[in-house]
Amino acid sequence: MNYPIWDVAFGAGLLIALVAGLHVFVSHFAVGGGLFLVLTERKARRTNDTALLNWLKSHTKFFVLLTVVFGAVSGVGIWFTIGLISPTATSDLIHIFVWGWAIEWVFFFIEITAALLYLYGWDKLDPKLHEWYGWIYFIAAYASLVVINGIITFMLTPGSWIDVHKFWIGFFNPTYIPSTFFRTAICIALAGIYALITASVQKDLDLKARIVRWGALWTVPALITLPLFGWWYIRKIPAVLFASARGPMPTATHYAFLAWSLLVVTFVLTLWALLRPRHLHLAFALVIALVALGAMDSFEFVREDVRKPFVIENYLYDNSLYAASMPGDGGFTIDNLNTVGVLNAATWVQHRAVTPDNQVAVGREVFRVECQACHTADHYRGIHQLIEQRQWDPATVHAMLSGLSLMHNGIMPPFAGTDAERDALAAYVNSLQTITPNPATFTDGKLVFENNCSMCHQDRPDDMLFTGLDPNPKVAADSLKDLTSLFPLMPDLKLSEAQRTSLVRWINTQRPASQHAANQPAANRPGTAPEGGN
């Protein structure tokens, strides 16, 4: 709201995913592939393998055309895109880490020059000098990874930087070292996988087999180390954050599953290629690459997802509000917005007050500045689909806006603003409804749970909803009348009697009998109040 929001109907976040998702797959190859080039050249020269050397020349061309063009431009592209979508975070990161980026640029400059000289020098330079360019290329490329890794890991685990604001404390943050190892292994694995692609089109089958075996020698051991480094990496992420990927947050959980399973598939496919190295087909090599791309991007998505609702953990929310007040925050904090209101605090809004006539229009603006960093109205993470799928009526929508920060292991920032602005946001969200929900008639307890409780509670016996509810079904159902009295941070949801009764009945089928009285009508059991009330 300090900066204008780029209003992309299908979700601007998808553009970051597209650009960054493709970039990482090429940039890690650019690092590992550099080492691959120079070691393969040395191997070919030592064994006088002219065929391998000739293949390596064409592989170098493929390497340079992919990394220097697409890799470099898409790298700049990430920067272009984050500046468009998260200008506040980009500005913060640049002011904190500009010298890191400037150093990375020096390495990048050396890297590109060395890559071009290595390519053009194949037929011109003596072998030793040619390999010298290869080594310079690889060292510079790896150094640029080592630098940028400090900034990326900082965003997830800034550690004590939050208190001391020192460059090196932020740079060598808790996940820096495991992430460096993890990404190094990815680089080496990808070097082998890309080699399979250019090997697969070789007509000399002996040569093809030699390259496939040599490439697999890079990929297979590197893939084996990945779970180990991954485990180390996860251990350094605060458990409460990584918990999101263990169930409470659907996207992180799915991507975590995908990352591990696609890693295994990559491993199996590479072994398969190794079994019949003379028969490796281009299509098969591309499938291996695509699966590896899926595994890698899934990992990156998990890393980004468990950080939510922050873009810089514990410092800056995804919607560009600061987690705590500090000098120079410009008033862009939850507390300040709760006091003065979004319309007063934001720079880039048209409306400055809510009136009965402009409520939906104001809500649209509040949605844009507070929610649109992650959500859209109708498409990616669309609110329209979300509320219709759950059959939320206007009262439910309104109540839910008070409980955002509890949802899915806390992946959303709390709503920030005045009550009138919250009403306006609810009015706008409700205006997206195209159906007439009638949740009061729902009598399927599981559905009631899924539509109203599952955002925060998990369907697990140890969840508070299951352990904390009164054993007596009638008392339990009555206690759900006023949720805020159970726990003040809960949304003030008004479930109908039918909903409450069916919900409690379903909950009791999910928990051990010791935790609840049997699902008998309350009146049949001694010591309970006679039925009455609603």
């Binding site: 002011h95 500090m326 410009g330």
Partner: protein, 372 residues
């Protein structure tokens, strides 16, 4: 009520070095970026002019291929040298830069796609120019059109970031990023000013190629020299008209900066004008006397000097546009002494290593081939 300026506030993190350090780095790296960009874009113009416009059937394709082979490397240099000023402009002018990019978000985003397409097109022309000069010519033309459009998008962004008072109306009329800055009166002359300069520098590229071939292939080298030298002269003469148009399109108070109101701007403007006139005469003289060294060293050096004056004038103009909002003393500064010297060290080391790399490749010795 919409605040007419809507300038975002600074983020809470102080500048990690004094303001002037970033300003200096911005200007130095932008100057280098401009040199590379001019050679790249001008080179593409020259290659096409040779391919489609040259009357000499003997050299038409030879010049085309000779130049086309250089362009991918020049584009790599343009991009690599462009990253640093992109970084430093965000350090100092982030509030303006991010806002204007968001206003023209889609064109800005498309720069990436256009650039990748142009880049591969240039590589196609470089690799296939010999075997398929016809196709390569058209692909190169398409790539040049793409980089010209990229330059146009940049001009839109840079002119828009200077006028915060225009932002709000533009954004609220179309928050989805489908904007350009076409209503800006300085946009077209400013853009053409840059493109014309690139054409002139393209002429210099041919002169430099002629110098490299002067000993071994005098006849071809002389043809290159004539072709490039004339292109430089005509483009630079045209620049007087385009530059004048740019100057008169500026708001009066800003125009007067270069005519007495600001001493440095006036000195630079005069020096640039004199340098330009001198460069035309020098080139004309060199062509008449067939003196390639005067053209290659004298005119090139003079042109680099003129570009440097332009880069500084451009900066003075930007700060004058932003004068109501932008005051460097507003920046809190907390120099990161634990890392800043390391950057300087690595930067110097990087430059030395870079020169050693070029030297070992044989780029500084004329007896060895210098193909890139």
């Amino acid at each position: 009520m919409i605040n007419p300026s809507m300038v975002p506030t600074l983020d809470p993190n102080p500048l990690p070095a004094p303001y002037w350090v970033f300003k200096l780095l911005l200007l130095v790296t932008f100057f280098l970026h401009m040199l590379a960009m001019n050679f790249m874009m001008g080179g593409a113009f020259m290659a096409l002019a040779a391919r489609f416009g040259s009357k000499s059937s003997q050299y038409r394709n030879r010049i085309f291929i000779d130049v086309a082979k250089k362009i991918p490397t020049l584009l790599a240099a343009t991009i690599t040298l462009g990253i640093a000023p992109l970084l430093f402009v965000q350090v100092v002018y982030g509030q303006y830069f991010y806002t204007s990019t968001i206003l023209i978000a889609w064109p800005w985003f498309f720069v990436l796609i256009l650039l990748i397409a142009a880049y591969y097109g240039f590589y196609f022309a470089a690799y296939k120019g010999k075997r398929r000069p016809g196709a390569a010519g058209f692909v190169l033309l398409a790539s040049l059109a793409l980089v010209l459009f990229i330059g146009f998008i940049y001009s839109n962004n840079v002119t828009l970031m200077q006028v915060p008072s225009h932002w709000a109306a533009k954004y609220f009329a179309n928050p989805s990023g489908w904007n350009l800055n076409l209503s800006e009166p300085t946009l077209i002359p400013r853009y053409l000013h840059f493109v014309t300069a690139a054409i002139a520098v393209g002429g210099i590229l041919l002169v430099l190629l002629a110098l490299a071939r002067w000993k071994h292939d005098r006849e071809y080298a002389r043809h290159l020299f004539r072709f490039g030298g004339k292109a430089f002269m005509y483009a630079t003469m045209a620049q007087f008209l385009v530059g004048m148009w740019f100057l008169v399109s500026l708001p009066r108070d800003l125009r007067m900066l270069f005519m007495g109101d600001n001493t440095l701007a006036t000195v630079l403007f005069s020096a640039g004008l004199l340098g330009t006139v001198a460069a035309i005469f020098l080139m004309s003289d060199a062509l008449r006397k067939d003196s390639i060294r005067v053209a290659a060293y004298g005119v090139t050096g003079l042109t680099a000097f003129i570009i440097l004056t332009m880069v500084i004038m451009r900066d003075i103009l930007r700060d004058a546009y932003l004068e109501p909002y932008f005051h460097p003393h507003q920046f809190p500064v907390h120099t990161q002494w634990s890392i800043f010297p390391l950057f300087l060290l690595l930067f110097l080391g990087g430059v030395v290593l870079w020169l050693v790399m070029l030297k070992r490749y044989g780029l500084f010795t004329s007896t060895k081939p210098t193909e890139l």
